[in-house]
């Protein structure tokens, strides 16, 4: 009884590996390359023939003249991706939280009691969350206006720039409104030219 089972098992494994481990992924690969080539290859941002990042992967922005992304537990280096995994009773996390709060207030010269957007004080799950909220973007405009010597008109343009990049919940219901930081900064550079 055992021997035929062994033989069938092996043959079964071979043919299913061919079907599910080769034919299926290759079919999907070709579908992706034909119908959604940009997305399938990583939604890359290419400028002057050089790859400058991916719209879906946060990159570090430290300069005052750019919008800053959410904090990252892996310093925006997704090899491998990762989070802090710290608990809500972690003294370490609390320290980090206070530190980020202080820096965010300082950098953007905010008055202390202002309610800060939580996502800027906590590190994301992937370490490369590409989005921030509209509020976080608004709070950063003063710093950017100063750093870029914008006049009043440009300052107002900056606000509408945020609104134009913001993506509402899909179908009006699913998910949150977000602003993609890389897209926003690219538009910002274009506007300053």
């Amino acid at each position: 009884m055992l021997f035929p089972s062994v033989k069938s098992s092996l043959k079964f494994l071979i043919i299913f590996t061919v079907l599910l481990g080769a034919a299926y992924p290759f079919a999907i690969y070709f579908a992706g390359q034909i119908f959604f080539p940009d997305k399938a290859n990583g939604s890359l941002f290419i400028q002057d023939g050089k790859i400058k990042g991916s719209y879906l992967i946060a990159q570090e922005f430290k300069d005052d003249k750019y919008f800053h992304p959410r904090p990252s537990a892996i310093n925006y280096n997704p090899l491998p991706s990762g989070a802090s995994n710290l608990s809500e009773t972690s003294a370490l996390l609390l320290k980090e939280y206070e530190r980020r709060k202080k820096i965010f207030i300082q950098e953007n010269s905010l008055s202390d009691p202002v309610k800060l957007p939580d996502e800027m004080l906590f590190a994301s799950a992937s370490g490369v969350d590409p989005d921030i909220s509209k509020e976080s973007a608004y709070l950063q405009t003063k710093r950017i206006t100063n750093a870029r010597n914008f006049n009043k008109l440009q300052g107002r343009q900056l606000l509408s720039l945020i609104d134009s990049v913001a993506e509402p919940p899909q179908f009006g219901v699913i998910g949150n409104e977000v602003v993609n930081v890389l897209k926003l900064n690219i538009k910002l550079d274009e506007m300053s030219k």
């Binding site: 299913f16 481990g21 992924p25 999907i28 400058k52 996390l93 992937s126 969350d129």
Partner: protein, 564 residues
């Protein structure tokens, strides 16, 4: 906080889940009852070719022992093949990052993990496994372990439905049908949708970008869309990347997220209706479905409430640590609840950074046996064990021989059912105890205080429950954890499958007695109430002590603003 917005998302989720699973469930019943269906003209020839190639006679019916042996042999070869692939990946194609061979113990742990539908990951995908191993190894087992679960469930159904029989079906036939008519078509459709949202799918090597500010950033890629589709549909959950479905390339948009959660529960929920249809009792199916939905929503409500409650350590209402902004709080707890009821190990937020009570709910969901929808196939045959116990207890209360759908439930069935419920629980508690008193167990901890206990408890809960999600602070890529968790995964899988098949083998021989006025109805509210009670009492009695000194204690300390 916009509670109404969250509620609308939940409503939309249920509005899609319930009708879709009803339709699919009835279709699956057609597939397994050998009726004509629309996919047969397309794939029927290929199915027959498969049998001819493998030398399988589908007319041959197996008794429970033969069925079990075939299953075990097939799974064992799947395991060996996975280990071999990992140990030789440096010689194999599609390894553009030139990743070296995987360490033996890690390779064994990973192989056990994928064969048992656990998908626990002690490794980081993007820095450990080549594209080839992910495709030809992991993805194949994602399909086959899910198909194995469905096969066991279908065999069990035959055991209940057949009168005075001997055999419970043909294992190869059941696996093949599960793959060809359920898992593969759904995966293809779902992959395409994921591609449209921005999930990557390429064989190119990782990209090195020079960012706008001039830093170097290496961006990992891979044939991801095809993997993500089956990892969700098959309640597997093993991520291509380390942070799984939190990573934008696996889950780029709120819509991709929404559909991924939906696909996690879709097949398990559908199979409830398959069960009802094949057993000729749709009302019974709705009763089971109602029980599942109730426990699921109750857990979700507690988890959500705990996440939006004011936090006394951080003095805010919205803790975003380990969460992605595009999903927000609601979609993060919807995910953590859905994955833990359903034995899916994927995460879109870091469970370790959720509030202690949300973490508790996630853990408890797994500890209840993942029978609330549950793993593909596995959830329903797990639920069957609880139904048997409920019928038995009710029978004792009224002093009648317990019956289930006309079949007498006797000592033999009860013994096996209790064994199957106890084995994973023992594995969880015993191994956790070993870990908390040994240096090897404690040196892997990240967080201090009661959260440390939660990390260890969650790891073994996840392993023995074949879930695969993690309080990822714990470093489990050590010999100690790789070995113990492999054993826990094996116990959690085969310690349930073998008893279930044994019960199926025993039930199939029995006659079906017509229902009388004294028969306990299994399709009304009373039964649903009893079933919920038995599930919660068994789960609570087993795990309440340890949960109270882990996540519950942490919750109390957090409320007093204490940190570690």
């Amino acid at each position: 906080m916009n509670y109404l917005h969250d509620f609308l998302q939940l409503l939309l989720f249920l509005i899609l889940l319930i009708p879709l699973s009803y339709i699919l469930g009835n279709f699956f019943a057609k597939v397994f009852q050998g009726e004509k269906h629309f996919l047969q003209p397309v794939l029927g020839k290929f199915e027959n070719f498969l049998y001819r190639f493998s030398g399988i006679d589908t007319q041959h019916q197996m008794d429970w022992k033969e069925y079990t042996i075939n299953l075990l042999i097939f799974n064992f070869f799947g395991f060996l093949f996975l280990v071999a692939l990992q140990l030789s990946q440096q010689f194999l194609p599609f390894n553009p990052q030139h990743l070296p061979k995987v360490d033996l113990l890690l390779a064994i742990n990973t192989a056990v993990s994928f064969v048992t539908n656990t998908n626990w990951q002690s490794y980081a995908g993007e820095t450990t496994l080549s594209y080839f191993v992910q495709m030809a190894g992991m993805a194949v087992q994602n399909f086959l372990s899910a198909a194995t679960g469905i096969a066991v469930m279908v065999a069990l159904i035959r055991g209940i439905a057949t009168r005075n029989g001997k055999t419970i079906g043909n294992f190869w036939n059941d696996v093949t049908k599960s793959v060809l008519y359920i898992l593969l078509p759904l995966s293809i459709i779902f992959s395409i949708i994921l591609l449209s949202q921005g999930v990557v799918d390429t064989f190119s090597h990782y990209v090195t970008a020079v960012t706008i500010e001039g830093q170097k950033q290496i961006i990992p890629l891979g044939p991801v869309a095809s993997q993500v589709a089956i990892k969700q549909l098959g309640t597997n959950g093993g991520g291509f990347f380390n942070t799984n479905s939190a990573f934008p390339f696996e889950n780029p948009t709120p819509l991709s997220n929404f559909l991924e959660v939906l696909s996690i529960l879709l097949i398990p929920a559908s199979l409830v209706f398959t069960y009802g249809k094949m057993l000729g009792s749709k009302k019974h199916a709705w009763t089971i479905f109602g029980v599942m939905l109730f426990v699921f929503l109750a857990g979700l409500a507690v988890s959500y409430y705990s996440e939006i409650s004011y936090n006394h350590v951080f003095n805010t209402q919205k803790i975003m640590e380990g969460k992605e902004l595009r999903f927000g709080i609601f979609n993060s707890v919807l995910w953590s609840t859905a994955t833990t009821v359903a034995s899916n190990g994927s995460v879109n937020s870091m469970i370790s950074s959720l509030s202690p009570i949300s973490g508790l709910i996630a853990m408890l969901n797994i500890q209840l046996g993942e029978i609330i929808f549950g793993g593909v196939g596995a959830g329903l045959y797990g639920m069957f064990l609880f139904i048997v116990i409920t019928v038995f207890i009710s029978g004792l209360m009224v002093g009648r021989t317990p019956e289930y759908l006309g079949k007498k439930i006797e000592a033999y069935e009860i013994k096996w059912s209790i064994l199957a419920v106890l084995l994973p629980s023992i594995a969880i508690l015993f191994f956790s105890s070993v870990a908390v008193v040994s240096k090897n167990g404690l040196s892997s901890l990240l967080n201090k205080g009661p959260h440390g206990l939660s990390e260890i408890l969650y790891a073994f809960t996840s392993a023995a429950g074949n879930n695969g999600s993690a309080f990822a602070g714990l470093n489990t890529n050590t010999n100690f954890y790789n070995i113990l968790m492999s054993i826990a995964m094996l116990i959690g899988r085969y310690g349930v499958i073998v008893p279930v098949l044994a019960v199926a083998g025993s039930l199939v021989k029995k006659n079906i007695a017509p229902a009388t006025s004294g028969t306990l109805a299994t399709d009304n509210f009373m039964f649903a109430f009893l079933l919920v009670a038995v599930i919660l009492i068994v789960g609570a009695l087993t795990f309440f002590p340890v949960l109270s000194i882990g996540p519950f204690l942490e919750h109390l300390l957090m409320q007093s603003g204490i940190t570690f």
